[in-house]
């Protein structure tokens, strides 16, 4: 073979990700710990709240080797469980996922947990252990498996099952990886904290290798409404998607395919589109040529009378949950939340939600409020500088106009939920600048800030009223004394004076609209200083 020849061979997806693990977030031992926790926790949450189950999630991290930096990471949930026949592929075959339907969930690419398994295999050689049971199952299933990288196939090392002795359902996943816990710790804690902030309806516990327990107890019983699976909206279509659709379809005609595969396309719309593409409605979908497919895509995308995409596939947190979460996290003096109405970009429905906390234990925002970003209930911790949401908070809102003088203890939480959150890059850590989205984010923040402004101006008014009352109340003892000198007999002077103080206190409280207690407090302080 000469030096100019090259060997081409197919690479299995498992092998590909094994080699390019940085893309999936496993670039180094610090990042690996964080990424493993994150992937497992997100799966645990997707198995619970998406299905209407209040999550109980327990994360345990243990040192797994005395000499080497091996850590066993175990995440337990009380979710819907996984059918035993699915388990091997769900954990052992890259790109096998239930997540190809159109509904909001945390993971998008169906890669996460397999990357964890691969990474564990690569660094410690230890297999993944899975214990799972669905709610109506009588047995609990146990698997120990690894991935055959070359074949992209699961290898079952051990499997078994036993009868349920208690009413348990959910999944326990345990992996052992090499990692740098000491340096990853703060990131993991932050991730858990930020996740818990918007999930006040979840019990989340973390046990660290140092045996510290970090626990966020459930404070509300309200759950976000679960997302409903919907068909894709035609505006979100691309050639790739359409190609795979026509190959795997069970529909006999192009017309039926369109009507049944998309939302917002009925008979009339389907005919118009097909006519515009210059095709035959009765044509078999499998027989479409590449040129015809392209014409069809263009016809579908250029049609402009669709109803907007259905927001049923979304699961916003809701104002009550955001408020409760912020209260639990920051015990703020003021909190408000705004859930915007559904909107859409390029056929993808989205909802922007904004929470705003002020005062209490809210961290201080220096030149702008502290921003907590979430996408589909996942906290975004990195790449803040390039995030559109942060840009809006910093540059598009004049906080002065809302009576906020920075630095101030103020925090803005922005949650974007969508069937397709527009991220910048595969890191999934910052939100891209889409005009429709930017507008909603801005309007949401402004609405929340108006609530804050109302609160602050009321507070200032009340404080001014108190100050005014104070500037009157401090003279009550002197006025009462003077009146009593003139009007009271010497023997009854003290009783007389007290009575005048009491009456004046009432009058001043009534006239200034300030509480009697406050007036009395000031009067008492004057009397105490004067030794009355």
């Amino acid at each position: 073979m000469s030096q100019y020849d090259e060997v081409y061979r197919a690479v299995s997806p498992a092998e590909f990700f094994y080699k390019y693990r940085e893309i999936a977030g496993f670039a180094n031992p610090v990042r690996a710990v964080y990424q493993t926790v994150r992937e497992l926790v997100e799966n645990a949450l997707d198995a619970t709240d998406v299905h209407g189950i209040p999550p109980d999630v327990k994360v345990t991290i243990k040192k797994a080797d005395e000499t080497q930096e091996f850590y066993q990471i175990t995440v337990e949930d009380n979710g819907i469980g996984i059918p035993p026949n699915i388990v091997p592929n769900a954990f052992g075959k890259v790109l096998f996922s239930s997540k190809y339907v159109m509904r909001q969930s945390r993971g998008m690419y169906g890669l996460g947990v397999k990357m964890v398994v691969l990474y564990a295999q690569m660094t410690t050689g230890r297999p993944v252990e899975v214990i799972t049971s669905k709610p109506n199952f009588k047995r609990i299933y146990y698997f120990k498996l690894r991935i055959d990288v070359n074949k992209n196939e699961p290898v079952i090392l051990e499997a078994g099952s036993w009868r349920k002795t208690r009413d348990w359902h959910g999944t326990i996943v345990s992996v052992t990886i090499e990692g740098d816990w000491n340096r990853a710790k703060s990131r993991v804690l932050e991730y858990i904290n930020r996740t818990a902030t918007i999930l006040p309806y979840a019990n989340i516990a973390l046990l660290t290798p140092e045996n510290e327990i970090i626990y966020y107890p459930r404070v509300v019983n309200t759950m976000p409404r679960p997302p409903v699976e919907t068909k894709p909206h035609p505006q979100g279509l691309d050639l790739e998607f359409l190609s795979s659709l026509v190959k795997n379809t069970g529909f006999e005609t192009l017309e039926k395919l369109l009507i049944n595969s998309f939302q917002s396309i009925g008979e009339a719309t389907a005919r118009q589109i097909i006519q515009k593409a210059g095709l035959d409605p009765a044509k078999k979908p499998e027989s479409l040529t590449n040129e015809e497919l392209l014409a069809l895509v263009n016809a579908i995308k250029s049609y402009d009378k669709y109803r907007p995409p259905s927001p049923k596939s979304l699961s916003p947190l809701g104002e009550e949950i955001i408020t409760a979460g912020l209260k639990r996290a920051f015990e703020p003096e003021f909190v408000t939340a705004v859930s915007r109405r559904p909107s859409a970009y390029s056929g993808h429905p989205f909802i922007v939600e904004v929470g705003l906390a002020y005062g209490g234990k809210t961290p201080i925002g220096e030149d702008k409020p502290v921003v907590l970003r979430y996408a589909n209930k996942i906290p975004l911790l990195y790449d803040e500088a390039t995030d559109m949401v942060v840009e809006v908070v910093k540059d598009e809102i004049s906080w002065d106009n809302y009576m906020v003088s920075l630095p101030a203890p103020i925090l803005v939480l922005v949650h974007v939920c969508s069937t397709k959150v527009p991220f910048k890059g595969v890191g999934k850590e910052s939100i891209a600048d889409i005009p429709e989205l930017r507008r909603e984010v801005k309007l949401g923040i402004m609405e929340a800030a108006r609530g804050l402004k109302q609160y602050l101006s009321k507070k200032i008014r009340e404080e001014e009223a108190k100050k005014r009352a104070e500037n009157i109340a401090k003279y009550i003892p002197e006025v009462a004394r003077s009146l009593s000198i003139i009007l009271a007999d010497e023997d009854s002077f003290n009783a007389y004076r007290s009575e005048v103080v009491r009456k004046l206190t009432t009058v001043v409280a009534k006239r200034t609209g300030v509480s009697l207690d406050l007036i009395q407090g000031i009067v008492k302080s004057v009397e105490a200083e004067a030794g009355v």
């Binding site: 003279y475 009007l487 302080s525 004057v526």
Partner: protein
């Protein structure tokens, strides 16, 4: 009846009665306030407004009076709360002094009421403030109480320094004593700070002469002027205090005698006359009891020094005449005047007017007269900033226009002492009697 009371020692019956009356007035007003509080209303003091805008010149009574505007001072109004407290504090101190038979001065009252109010503010700070800091504040509250209670401070037995003096054929009762003011030797009777407690018993006089300068008063006294011309001789020793003004007013009212004022021939002298006659702007609420509207200015007039030739020359010009007529109609009907001083005496006695004199003169008569009569360009530039002033209404008479016009033209002033220097005999036997008998005064 003599009685020993507290630390004040022997107190006269008149005093006791005055105290009783004052105590009742204070008590009555404060009881009203208490009733408001008991009804749950905001405690409010209602009193005439003591501001320049509410000071009016009453043309009929020819004096400065408080206008009809009322001021409401509510305790629950945050801008008035402190003043309210101060007013009541002052009332209580005055009340205590009255009850204890004391005679506080306004300075005493300032010290008695001055103390700290210390309290803990709503933000937890310990704050200390004084009931009042400067005497200006407590003095202002005393004035408020005077209008609130419609009494003068003298009625509340508040004393001030004695300044005015009087001699003459007059017998008075002061306290429990009877005093013959014609038997004061070389001295004189000091007009007490509470002139309303004086009783006039006997009088043998034809007019009252008030002399601004104490020195001139003494000279006339020793010369025996009052005995010779049956006058009651009074001096205010400069700016008249309240007691002297009230005393003169009572002499005028009760003895029905004409009052003549002899002051320096300068804007200050003219102003002192107007305080006697019409009242002062800052104390306009007292005018009704302190001003003597019938008081006449007999001198020293500018026309006594210069005659009227200067003025005649000025009003020969049509424009000037017209302007001055606008200030006061009748300037051409004024009686002609010849000067008492010769050319050489004038040059010896007159003093050059200062900027302050010029400014005060503009305040009295207005800028127009100055503008028309003044020839000196330097002097004119000095009063330029007073342009637009219209003067006091009670100076807008033909006589005063002539007097001040001559002043502006000659830029000269003259003290009464100068008239005495020409000869005490001239002053006592010629100048004063001649002016009175010929009616050469300004009313």
């Amino acid at each position: 009846m003599r009685q020993r009371l507290g630390c004040s020692g022997v107190t006269s019956k008149i005093d006791l009665e005055a105290r009783g009356k004052a105590l009742d007035i204070v008590k009555y007003s404060m009881r009203e306030l208490l009733e408001q509080i008991e009804r749950g209303e905001k405690p409010t003091l209602i009193m005439p407004k003591r501001t320049l805008s509410n000071t009016i010149y009453d043309l009929k009574h020819k004096m400065l009076l408080l206008g009809p505007e009322l001021q409401k001072r509510s305790f629950t109004d945050v801008n008035e709360a402190k003043k309210f407290m101060q007013t009541l504090l002052m009332a209580s101190i005055i009340y205590e002094a009255l009850r204890n038979n004391e005679y506080p001065t306004i300075r005493d009252l300032y010290y008695r009421g001055k103390h700290s109010i210390v309290y803990r503010s709503i933000d937890g700070k310990r704050v200390s403030e004084n009931t009042w800091d400067e005497q200006r504040e407590s003095d202002s509250v005393i004035r408020d109480l005077e209008v609130l209670l419609s009494v003068l401070r003298e009625d509340l037995l508040i004393l001030s320094k004695e300044k005015g003096k009087v001699v003459g054929n007059l017998v008075i009762r002061s306290g429990d004593d009877t005093i013959d003011l014609s038997k004061m030797g070389h001295g004189a009777y000091s007009i007490e700070p509470t002139p309303d407690l004086i009783e006039f018993i006997d009088v043998d006089a034809e007019y009252i002469l008030v002399v601004e300068k104490d020195a001139v008063f003494q000279q006339l006294h020793r010369y025996g002027f009052w005995r010779k011309y049956k006058a009651i001789l009074v001096t205010s020793a400069g700016q008249p205090d309240r007691a002297t003004r009230r005393f003169v007013r009572r002499l005028s009212d009760e003895l029905k005698l004409p009052v003549y004022i002899l002051a320096d021939s300068d804007p200050y002298g003219f102003y002192i006359y107007s305080v006697f006659k019409a009242g002062s702007i800052t104390l306009s609420y007292e005018s009704e009891r302190l001003a003597t509207p019938s008081a006449k200015f007999i001198g020293v007039m500018m026309t006594d020094i210069f005659g009227d030739s200067v003025f005649k020359k000025i009003i020969k010009e049509r424009e000037a005449r017209k302007t001055l007529e606008e200030v006061a109609t009748g300037i051409e009907d004024l009686k002609p005047k010849t000067p008492y001083l010769s050319e050489s005496e004038r040059s010896n006695f007159i003093i050059k007017a200062k900027t302050k004199d010029l400014e005060r003169a503009v305040e009295l008569i207005g800028y127009k007269v100055a503008d028309v009569c003044m020839e000196d360009k330097d002097a004119k530039s000095k009063i330029k900033r007073k342009e637009g002033l219209t003067g006091y209404p009670w100076f807008a008479t033909p006589h005063w226009v002539r007097e001040l016009c001559i002043f502006f033209n000659t830029l000269s002033k003259l003290e009464i002492e100068a008239m005495a220097s020409k000869g005490l005999k001239f002053l006592a036997d010629k100048y004063i009697p001649e002016k009175i008998s010929s009616g050469d005064w300004i009313d």
